[in-house]
Amino acid sequence: MSTSANFEIRHSWRTTAFLTDSTLCIGCKACEVACKEWNHISEDGFDWSGFSYDNTGSVGHSTWRHVKFIEGDPQPGKGGNAGDGISWEFSSDVCKHCEVAGCLEACPTGAITRMEFGAVYVQPDICNGCSYCVVACPFGVVQKNRKDGRAFKCTFCSDRQRVGLQPACAKACPTESIKFGEINELRTMAEERLRELHERGIEDATVYNPMDTSVGGIHAFFLLRGDPRTYNLPPKPEAPTIYLKDGWRSAGLVAGMLALGSLFAFLSTPARNSKNS
């Protein structure tokens, strides 16, 4: 095997990230194909959705990279469009690998762990398919495969990263729309790209990386045009652990009421005639 930049041996692990630059995406779905082939993921159905060129709909147990197709009104020049054609936007969605990951916190078996390079990883040999992570993810990423019984999502190509390779989707992307690298470098790169796009008059370009919520930032951030909600990216995703305090306080209160209530019920009533015991 030839030596390549991909094969650098890492002595200390760096936190890695994805920057998915939608302004460079051409909607070729090479990332979806590469992901499925490398990770041996099963098919995700052959139904026609009718939603542009997207027949998959969202990421799930059998789709770890998912290209969204957004058709807009004709707008000459937008995304390289000619005058009378519809304007296109594409964005390759993926697990966000949250800094505070709802799925990881919720997992009762410890199957979901954080890898050396910051990925949130479901260990398939430990997951017992309780599906609690499914309702804990604020982005709707992780899902149980009912046939298999376990939960699946993007592994951040942990197997590849551990031997110094970049994830399959990033490697297969022909326009470098999917960038992979050290998280701080990519954050700087996103800022620079955003400035460049704004200077070129593309003023609706934004970076989606929710830092000011309980999720605390994500390891797969996106450079988009327009409102992130168009891409089904929630404006304020929350790690469900923030609700625990209210929940347990209420549970404690009720437990106290139950205990005192039953004590009162028995102490305030006469002993039952127990001749039938």
Binding site: V135, D227, A259
Partner: protein, 347 residues
């Protein structure tokens, strides 16, 4: 599901009649429904900040099967029964009730464990639940509580059965310790399920996180009381008093849920099948048994108490089923997670 007949199998008259029926349907409803057609989406969905990505919901629906809401009911009843048994024994007011309660608790614990294991995608790996303890995961806390509750309530029930035949000191002491532990563990067992579904990304669940433990805990108490009454403790005055208290609290919770603000997030609790299920569950576990029990207290009617018990049990099951499926409806509502101003919890 009726399979549409292939055209060659249908007579020309029937096909003409079908055209007329499509026309009538379109006239009546303003749209016609047929195989391979998406009239609901018309005008065709778009991706926009207001509609999200073609109106596809971004949250995933819960993937629990029917076992989970049933477990919420059984676990709640078993936890409450253990508590009642422990207090009945501690106060020395009712030997018979304490005995029955520990048997009900142990049976409920076995049933709960079975239900939870069969819900797993990989049931043979159920012991993986006990390979870690995570305080930040209500599922982990619940698995440990259930495991310890099952052991202690099983030991308590075993000691009860042994004591009936031979009264040995050490067994009595160990049995009492097990009873105390299972009564104490019954408290979290009956209430944690509210935290379990409340601390999730599902809007209708986490929006009601402060109400859910109260709702489920009181519902558990009511069903525990009711089961014990139906197995032969229908004349216990303490159980009736507890049943009145639980029904009163359930009435209060139901009243608050019915008239709370911010109906957008709580729409699955108001409308559709899930709305009527939770509402019916609330009525059957709140005002109905409350009224029946008050009448029974005044008239001494055992029959009324039996009706109240059955009403509480059915209401409690419907409540859990309704809440779980309200979570499904909430996850399908694509609008909620895209709206920032709804994200604030209010109670």
């Amino acid at each position: 599901m009726t399979q549409p007949a292939r055209p060659e199998q249908v007579s020309a008259m029937a096909r003409e009649a079908r055209l007329l029926s499509i026309r009538r349907e379109a006239e009546r409803k303003g749209r016609a429904v047929g195989e391979g057609i998406r009239p609901e989406g018309a005008p065709f969905p778009k991706a926009s900040p207001e509609t999200g990505y073609y109106g596809i919901h971004l949250l995933k629906e819960p993937q629990w099967s029917w076992e989970v809401p049933v477990y919420f009911f059984v676990g709640g009843a078993a936890g409450a029964a253990a508590l009642i048994g422990g207090v009945a024994k501690l106060t020395g007011k009712d030997e018979r009730l304490a005995r029955d309660a520990h048997l009900v608790a142990a049976g409920g614990a076995i049933l709960s464990t079975g239900l939870l294991i069969s819900d797993l995608g990989r049931p043979e790996r159920f012991l993986n639940m006990l390979r870690v303890f995570k305080i930040q995961s209500p599922m982990s806390v619940g698995a440990w509580v259930l495991a310890l509750f099952g052991s202690t309530s099983g030991a308590a029930a075993f000691a009860e059965l042994v004591e009936r035949r031979l009264d040995i000191g050490p067994i009595r002491v160990l049995g009492n310790i097990a009873e105390g532990c299972s009564a104490a563990l019954g408290l979290p067992l009956a209430t944690y399920t509210g935290v379990l579904i409340g601390a999730t990304a599902i809007p209708v669940w986490h929006h009601n996180i402060k109400t859910l433990p109260m709702h489920f805990g009181m519902s558990g108490l009511a069903s525990g009381v009711s089961v014990l009454e139906l197995v032969g403790n229908g004349d216990s005055p303490a159980l009736n008093r507890l049943g009145i208290g639980a029904a009163a609290m359930e009435s209060y919770v139901g009243f608050r849920l019915e008239f709370m603000r911010d109906p957008r997030v709580n729409r699955p609790l108001k409308r559709g099948l899930t709305g009527w299920t939770t509402r019916l569950g609330g009525i059957l576990s709140g005002p109905v048994p409350l009224a029946l029990r008050l009448v029974a207290t005044a008239s001494g009617s055992r029959r009324m108490r039996r009706f109240a018990a059955w009403s509480s049990i059915v209401g409690s099951i419907l409540t859990r089923v309704g809440w779980v499926y309200a979570g499904h409806a909430s996850a399908r509502d694509w609008r909620i997670p895209l709206e920032t101003h709804l994200r604030n919890r209010c109670d």
